[in-house]
Symmetry: C2
């Protein structure tokens, strides 16, 4: 079946959450949002493109920082309301210069930062 | 710093997306939603508890199916508006009896189901 981005289930804002996972290591790097056009652009260009809710504009990941995400495979969940992006990440995914945005763990009831910014 | 579920950034519905990842294999199994009380219950009990948007009630994953999720570690992203749950998954995570909800890939422009239901 040919894939049509319009066939996904978007929320009231027209967005779907997209989880970015390192295709080689399995590390979950970040979660951001896409609208149908961002999904289409990501598939067309192979460069992961989100929709920035704060800026209300397309966000070609790494366009300014160089920390691009190359799409390896796009996956859809059973409810068609969440995407999993298998990607190649150049450098850090997080704006704090950490590899992953999920660098804080809750351990024994306390928050612990376990990942350092990349050099 | 002691972790307080109220310190997370919830959306207008009071929810935060939670990504469940197999702690051993790295496989991303599903994405669902939590409110502050679901986060607290998950940490207290070690059993992953979501908030069901359709049923508007707490959803102790696996309570009826037996396909429970035991929390290994809860992680918070940089914006504090998304959670990553490292878990032990008993059986399939998906209601289709597949290990993961992300069983459909877009390959060469077409949808392809690449994962079978578990036996």
């Amino acid at each position: 079946m040919a894939f049509d981005p319009a066939s996904l289930t978007y929320d009231a804002r027209g967005l779907v959450p997209a989880i970015a996972q390192d295709h080689a290591t399995g590390e979950v790097l970040m979660m951001a949002w896409m609208n149908a056009e961002a999904v289409a652009r990501t598939l067309e260009t192979g460069r992961v493109t989100y929709w920035s809710r704060s800026r209300q504009s397309f966000w070609v990941k790494g366009e300014t920082s160089g920390h691009i995400q190359r799409l390896v495979e796009l996956r859809i969940d059973c409810d068609r309301d969440c995407l999993l992006l298998l990607i190649e990440q150049v450098g850090p995914a997080c704006h704090t210069h950490r590899r992953s945005c999920f660098y804080t763990a809750v351990r024994e009831g306390a928050e612990q930062v376990f990942l350092d910014p990349m050099g």
